[in-house]
């Protein structure tokens, strides 16, 4: 793996499978009475949140603590792009404190990339969501959830998502989750279809490794999973679509639409859900909906990422079959 995790596109197929396999090891730990590993003892990780996101921050924090890392939470409220609140200054402060890794969330696309590449700080940088660009650990946890549901916990080890069909629905234009998932799911061999009103599809999407459709109903029958994206109500005022009602009629997921899905197919959502407009309560509460699992899986996946970026060649939980580096020891198990 690369030194930083900035984009889901940074991961090769083998990298991604290694993260998912390592996350399975981390998940086994959850069944033990003491859910903690000494792996990152003595290491300091800073969660640098320029944009509020309690869910993501808590998920990273839980992952860090289960790996015994020392955690510093830094949150800069309000607009990160206002003058005098410099990413560079903060980075240099953290560098001076000897931080071993930085988990960064920022409202500006590219801020984690700049942090990793500007020489402001030397530590590995993990992108916890930047603007409308990327959210790679979200894509990894989604892939982990998909692999468990569609292939199985044990059967999935070493496997990618070849041949699986995933439909991603909603505000693609403003969604870092959609961008990250298109990259990662494609890398893992899945076929991705984006469904959105044309106003919420980015110009230039033609270069993405996926299909684009404006029609949800026709996409549903042939998919293994449908991933609903968050739609912000203020988009309505910016004329991206006429009314909430029209949006939910054309792009919302209700029980009737869910019935069109194949039996085995699951419904995903990165949370928090807006019940009503994008997904009905009935669908959200159905056993086919993986929202709660996604949250749990987020911790395992982030533990895996932190371990792999910071833990070096030490075994994570179980002894790997070969003593060489994790990336070469795991991929042959397929």
């Amino acid at each position: 793996m690369k030194r930083h995790l900035i984009s889901a596109a940074d991961l090769t197929r083998d990298d991604a499978v290694l993260v998912l396999d390592t996350a399975e090891e981390m998940a086994r730990l959850a069944d033990r009475p003491i859910k903690k590993l000494p792996t990152l003892r003595g290491r300091t990780i800073c969660n640098l949140f320029f944009e509020d996101s309690t869910r993501t921050r808590i998920s990273f924090e839980a992952a860090e603590k289960r790996l015994s890392a020392d955690v510093i939470n830094f949150s800069a409220k309000g607009s990160s792009v206002s003058k005098g609140e410099s990413l560079k200054d903060t980075a240099q402060t953290l560098a001076a404190m000897g931080v071993d890794a930085v988990v960064i969330r920022h409202s500006a696309s590219g801020a984690p990339y700049r942090l990793a590449n500007s020489g402001w700080i030397d530590a590995p940088v993990i992108n916890a969501g930047d603007g409308t660009h990327q959210h790679p650990t979200q894509a990894l946890l989604d892939a982990f959830t998909l692999r468990r549901r569609l292939i199985g916990h044990e059967a999935g080890i070493g496997q990618d998502l070849s041949g699986k069909r995933i439909t991603i629905v909603g505000d693609v234009l403003h969604s870092r989750v959609a961008r990250s998932n298109v990259d990662l799911l494609h890398t893992l061999g899945a076929e991705v279809t984006l469904v959105a009103p044309p106003t919420l599809v980015p110009v230039g999407v033609g270069n993405w490794p996926c299909e684009v459709s404006y029609d949800l109903d026709s996409a549903l029958a042939k998919c293994d999973a449908v991933m609903m994206l968050r739609v912000q109500r203020e988009r309505m005022n910016a004329a991206f679509f006429p009314t909430e009602r029209e949006y939910s009629r054309r792009y919302g997921l209700d029980a009737q639409r869910m019935a069109k899905l194949p039996e085995h197919a699951v419904v995903m959502h990165p949370g928090p859900m807006v019940r009503g407009m994008e997904i009905t309560a009935e669908v959200a509460d159905s056993p086919r909906c993986t929202v709660v699992e996604q949250v749990a899986n987020g911790v395992f996946t982030r533990m895996a990422v932190l371990y792999l970026l910071l833990g070096g060649n030490e075994p994570a939980v179980t002894q790997p079959s070969s003593p060489s580096s994790p990336s070469s020891s795991r991929t042959e198990e397929k």
Binding site: L87, A111, L115, P202, G204
Partner: protein
């Protein structure tokens, strides 16, 4: 009266000749001229051009002297071979009154590295609502002839119409920064494949093209002339080409960076590439080069936009837009236009001196290199090869996208009315 003999220069890239400068004017152009009593500059076949004229410079004084001042900006201009620059009006305070334009003009006269011709704002405070006192600025000592709200678009069609009509009274021209504001809300880079991938707000080509289309039609309707700043798209070129074919009195400029750089560079998230209008695609770059070659685009203008280091050493969204350009313009033009065979040096003289002086009514600049003319001259060594090192810039700011890049050519001498402002590559 001091004399200078420039010996063995290819005048406008043509015949090797000697040029004798006596005082402020060119005394003689010929071969084997006597060097008696004159300082001799051995040109050794370097290219002699009329002093370059930049119709689009941001000098930042008054108000942002931490970025640039009239002194540092004109020193940068002299280093780049310029003998006259037009200073944009988006200063603090805005150059929207006779007082401010006279202040800028006077600072230019005092510092003396090149002539500074202030541009007046079209509207009060660049706010787009009320016409500034265009006539008073024209009648002031600064003699303003070019008006622009650059940095902002005059987007109100009625205000634009009135401005175009009003300046006809004194032969002025409105220079439009074409950017439809609603279509570029939140825009951070060219809208396309790269913006989609990077998740940066897209700046569609049509936001520029729709304003240009409207403005050439307005100019036609009221029988006025309009100048379009920094064209950046292939579509803009098509509209200007159509307007000219229809006889509309429109002129247009392109920046050196839009002739070379593309939005692919934004993948680095390095704010040095953040500029307004944004870097576009390879296809746009090729269309702009072609249009500059065939005369659809009249001139090269730098849009020299200095910013202090801290305004660029940050995340992309927070960074200021713009790049410095005076000191690298000629090298970029040589690289993209001359070395590619699209323009010869005589045509470079047209696009970078004769035509901008004509559009801006800068009498005394953009004159032929012949006896009796003001000795505003630039000597260029086209064989020079080197990498760009901003540490050596005369500009107060260093926000260049070319740091470490190899670019051909170097301005070795600049003469402003017979006086060397740049001598052997060093400011005099």
């Amino acid at each position: 009266m001091s004399k200078t003999l420039i010996r063995g220069a290819k005048v406008l890239g043509g015949e090797v000749q000697d040029v004798l400068v006596d005082g402020e004017t060119i005394a003689e152009v010929g071969t084997g001229l006597s060097a008696e009593g004159a300082t001799v500059v051995e040109a050794d076949g370097q290219i002699l051009l009329p002093g370059l004229v930049d119709l689009h410079t941001h000098l930042r004084e008054p108000g942002r002297e931490d970025s640039e001042t009239v002194l540092t900006g004109t020193r940068a201009a002299a280093s780049g071979g310029y003998t006259a620059v037009f200073a944009m009006a988006n200063t603090f305070p805005v150059a929207d009154t006779a007082g401010v334009v006279e202040q800028v003009w006077r600072l230019g006269r005092e510092h003396g590295y090149c002539d500074v011709q202030p541009i007046g704002a079209v509207t009060v405070g660049l706010e787009g609502r009320k016409l500034a006192e265009l006539g008073a600025m024209h009648e002031s000592a600064a003699g303003v002839t070019v008006f622009s709200d650059d940095g902002k678009c005059v987007d109100d069609a009625v205000i634009m119409r009135r401005a175009l009509e009003y300046v006809k009274a004194f032969g002025g021209v409105v220079a439009q920064h074409a950017q439809e504001p609603r279509l570029t809300e939140g825009a951070q880079m060219n809208e396309g494949v790269v913006s989609a991938e990077l998740g940066l707000g897209g700046w569609p080509a049509v936001a520029e093209e729709s304003i240009i289309a409207r403005d050439v039609l307005l100019a036609e309707h009221v029988g006025s002339r309009v100048h379009i700043c920094h064209l950046s798209t292939a579509g803009s070129v098509e509209i200007v080409r159509w307007a000219k074919s229809r006889g509309i009195d429109v002129t247009a400029e392109v920046t050196p960076h839009h002739l070379l750089l593309t939005d692919e560079m934004v993948r680095t998230y390095n704010p040095v590439y953040k500029v307004n209008p944004p870097l576009r695609t390879e296809r746009d770059v090729m269309a702009l080069r072609e249009a500059l070659a065939d005369g659809t685009i009249d001139i090269v203008a730098t849009d020299h936009a200095p910013h202090p280091h801290e305004d660029k050493d940050c995340e992309w969204a927070a960074a200021a837009m713009g790049m410095v350009g005076l000191e690298t313009a000629l090298s970029v033009v040589q690289h993209t236009m001359v070395d590619t065979g699209l323009l010869d040096w005589a045509a470079v003289a047209d696009r970078m001196s004769f035509a901008p002086a004509r559009i801006g009514s800068a009498t005394g600049h953009g004159r032929p290199v012949s006896a009796g003319e003001p000795a505003n001259l630039t000597l260029v060594d086209p064989a020079y090869r080197g990498t760009v090192d901003p540490a050596g810039f005369a500009s107060r700011s260093r926000n260049t996208p070319y740091e470490g890049r190899e670019l051909p050519g170097r301005v070795t001498h600049t003469f402003l009315r017979g006086r060397a402002t740049l001598m052997d590559g060093k400011l005099a």
